[in-house]
Symmetry: C2
Subunit: 195 residues, 2 copies
Amino acid sequence: MPAIVDHDSRREHVARIAADLIARVGLNSVTMRQIAAEAGFSTAIVTHYFSSKHELLLHTYRSTAISAQARVDAVLAQHPGDVLASLEALVPRDEESRRDWKVYIAFWHIAALDPVFAAEQAAQALNARRILHEALQARSARGWPPAEAEVATVAQRLLLILVGLSVQAVFDPVNWSADAIRRYLVAELGPLCDR
Amino acid sequence: MPAIVDHDSRREHVARIAADLIARVGLNSVTMRQIAAEAGFSTAIVTHYFSSKHELLLHTYRSTAISAQARVDAVLAQHPGDVLASLEALVPRDEESRRDWKVYIAFWHIAALDPVFAAEQAAQALNARRILHEALQARSARGWPPAEAEVATVAQRLLLILVGLSVQAVFDPVNWSADAIRRYLVAELGPLCDR
């Protein structure tokens, strides 16, 4: 019997390796050959899953965003409406999340040049706002923010805070420790924070 | 008599061309030869001013930040303490400022990999905070923010808002028109805004 190959998990494995390499050596230096070697596959197998570097990079960007969303989903499943914990699951505060932000920033550079990546960047921004919107809606039942219109405005504001804070923190992990990030978020969130 | 060559203005001319090219084709695609051709110089002249692409890129990053600072200085000379106008002089709201932000984002990608660019990024962030700090201090005389400690906190918060907003706006100029940016900033600034 032929070995059963889990194609999805292979694609994810390759995307994870690609993300690590992008954060380490940069988007332009990284090659399909290098990604294949680090993933333990032949270049032929990698090109079987991703027909071009462009396709692999796009998948890597999506995959990084999906794993960030999974972190928030896990938080919200435990503590519905915990906006602080949702934001903390997204900011760069450990090795993994710092790597994610290096990958996002690398992709922003392509998104500024390539319409396919620009569309993906817009979709990811919308998705991040939707995640924050849902966290806020779970709170809204408790009286704040008061109305749906307000929820959309606050979700947008939280996304901007998230991006601004994360760009600072990824370059300055000494001043933006996990504790410093929490203090900043608690102050920003005000009545949106239970702690 | 030999022609008088203004070396500083030549360097700035090259940096300006480099910034345009980086925003248009990306940091990695751009070559010294291409920059020289667009600047109307030989590659030899460009390498006389910048010994490497690395040095030229670093100068371009600084030069972009300096021209943004000059825009704020001009605003504050006219209207001391006008925080809204200072921020508006920095966000991507026209061709020039959008190009600047594409250049910043390109450099963030290198700053995530290269310690020299990381140090430069940290210096620029500090400088941006200092500019906002000065704008706030001019207001502080009018009673808000009340104390020096408060000024530093607000300056940091403004820098985060600036970065978060600008990253969204540079990718989504349709939803983030100059008017939409102003509405957002007015709401964020609250008592810091005179208008």
